[in-house]
């Protein structure tokens, strides 16, 4: 059984074909990078996998189950998590409150309304242990919107990890970060549990190559190349796209 299987996926916005006949299979525990120039359809692919968009055609299986028609929250309940390219954190909540929301999202008490949240100590314990594990414990009472950009990225990753996801989609986790911040975020990703299957969209080739086992190249909505890091590195077509020597 594949952790994530995408079959003949196509998606168009109006007349614009964003994804065309994309096939992709990711094994449990595997780490796959999806690379490609701007507009290749990488984020659209993530939006479809998480259920934010419904695809024009094709099928998505998560851990063997067809989730093509499930809403985002149901997919999250099945063990799918993601980060966003544009930070959509809870800017006015504290770091601890944000992580509590993430922890609570997959907990049976998430819909309880007759007792205050403090009555459920296990939520706070889990949130605090996550923050301690990822080195943000001292920032737990800071308002998220006032954190540095790099710290916000760390919060973003912690929110995605809170539910111990089986499949994790990371949309450009190092975009806009300084080299030092990039290194610390990459280090964080390297430490993620090997049980978590990871799909990573990354512009920084060095970061991508260092973190993943396998690479898929998307170009103009299609899978252009797929394979091991060495294979992709030596692929002339990929080189052409990245060096801009083609006339497409």
């Amino acid at each position: 059984m594949m952790a994530l299987q995408i079959e003949q996926l196509s998606h168009s916005f109006g007349g614009l074909l964003a994804l065309s006949d994309v096939n992709l299979a990711v094994a449990p525990g595997e780490r796959l990078a999806i690379i490609g120039p701007n507009g290749a359809g990488k984020t659209t692919l993530f939006n479809i996998v998480t259920g934010i968009f419904r695809p024009s055609a094709g099928r998505i299986r998560l851990l063997g189950q067809d989730v093509t028609r499930l809403p985002p929250h149901r997919r999250a309940q099945l063990g799918l998590a993601r980060t966003f390219q544009i930070t959509t954190l809870f800017p006015r909540l504290t770091v601890l409150d944000s992580v509590l929301l993430a922890v609570q999202g997959l907990d049976p008490v998430r819909f309880t309304l007759h007792r205050p949240r403090e009555a459920y100590g296990h939520l706070r314990e889990r949130a605090e242990s996550l923050l301690a594990e990822w080195g943000l414990a001292d920032r737990c009472h800071a308002v998220t919107g006032r954190l540095s950009y790099g710290e916000q990225r760390q919060v973003e990753l912690i929110l995605a990890l809170a539910g111990a996801p089986k499949v994790l989609l990371l949309d450009e986790p190092t975009a806009g970060l300084s080299p030092a911040e990039t290194a610390s975020v990459a280090e964080m990703i390297r430490r993620f549990s090997r049980d978590t299957t990871i799909l990573l969209i990354e512009h920084d080739m060095d970061v991508a190559l260092e973190l993943v086992d396998r690479i898929t190249v998307l170009f103009q909505g299609r899978v252009l190349a797929e394979g091991s890091k060495d294979k992709i590195r030596s692929d002339p077509e990929v080189a052409a796209i990245y060096l801009g020597t083609d006339d497409a």
């Binding site: 809403p71 985002p72 999250a76 006015r92 909540l93 609570q104 999202g105 007759h114």
Partner: protein
């Protein structure tokens, strides 16, 4: 910290219990009205302050409860145990129905749909004269007779009757907003998309909040028709809905106590100003502008700023 908060609440309650001893019957009536509108404003705060849903039709649930109780008490039976639950049931039912439509939209579209739905009820109350009395409203709605040693027709006992509902409402709402459900509403207000991918069925949260807000608005509507002995279409229309929004914003959205304070201020000002001029709506508008400019997080926000504590 916790005991300090408990002491503050107990002190506030003690003041509310003691106040009738020093107030004239006219002032006591005003205070009763403040409490009723306080419940109404807090119910809207659940939507606006916590879920981030700006309803401009919240008078609908207040008004429909008031009309239900008024009609039943006048035409069927003045039985508290029948009329009061019926008012709540109708308010809840109408909000459950309206929520299905309103929650298809977001932001200013949500605002417009709630406004339109509210005006539909206003139109019915205005036009269906044989049932609702049209523009004249329903006069002479009697107060309930309860097996209490003090008749509710007296201002003092009725005040305590309302105070009991006020205390129950504020306790219930403050548990709700602190519960996992209430915290999730705040998350939805801040970032709906994020909440979806964290596993929250966002629509369901918003819908339950919408219906709960309708229920508590119904509590206020029920109490109001008993208090006022009269209800007219003006308690269903947009001016009243807008006044409720203003109570919430003036007091401080997302604080519960703030909107109750805001309601008290608005009731007080309306009372004072109406004695001198007819342009109450104009005054409401001026207040709105002033609050937006000088106290965007409301009276509670101003106080917190002074005390240097950050928002919840």
């Amino acid at each position: 910290m916790k005991t300090r908060i408990a002491i503050r609440w107990a002190a506030a309650l003690a003041v509310l219990i003691a106040l009738p001893a020093v107030l004239s019957s006219y002032q006591l009536g005003l205070l009763t009205k403040m409490l009723i509108f306080g419940i109404f404003a807090m119910s809207l705060d659940l939507l606006l302050g916590y879920a981030g849903l700006p309803s401009l039709g919240h008078a609908a649930y207040f008004g429909v409860a008031a009309y239900t109780v008024g009609l039943l008490a006048l035409r069927v039976a003045n039985n508290f145990w029948l009329d009061f639950p019926a008012g709540l049931a109708v308010a809840t039912g109408v909000s459950a129905l309206f929520g299905l439509f309103a929650l298809r939209a977001r932001g200013s579209y949500f605002l417009m749909i709630t406004l339109a739905l509210g005006q539909v009820l206003w139109g019915i109350a205005f036009g269906w004269r044989s049932l609702t009395g049209g523009d004249d409203g329903l006069p002479s709605v009697p107060r309930p007779r309860l097996p209490l040693p003090w008749p509710l027709t007296d201002g003092g006992p009725f005040y305590y009757f309302v105070l009991a509902f006020f205390v129950i409402s504020i306790l219930a709402l403050s548990v709700i907003v602190r519960s996992p459900f209430g915290r999730a509403l705040v998350g939805i207000r801040e970032s709906e998309r994020r909440m979806e991918v964290l596993g929250y069925d966002v629509w369901r949260y918003k819908y339950v909040a919408f219906v709960l807000a309708g229920l508590f608005a119904g509590v206020a509507g029920n109490l109001f028709v008993y208090f006022n002995g009269f209800v007219s279409p003006s308690y269903l229309n947009i001016v009243f809905s807008a006044a409720a929004l203003l109570m919430v914003i003036l007091g401080g959205a997302g604080t519960l106590v703030g909107p109750a304070l805001g309601a008290a201020v608005i009731v007080f000002l309306e009372n004072v100003i109406s004695a001198y001029m007819e342009r109450w709506v104009l005054v409401l508008g001026v207040i709105y502008v002033l609050v937006t400019l000088f106290a965007p997080s409301g009276l509670v926000g101003l106080v917190r700023q002074r005390l240097g504590s950050h928002p919840a």
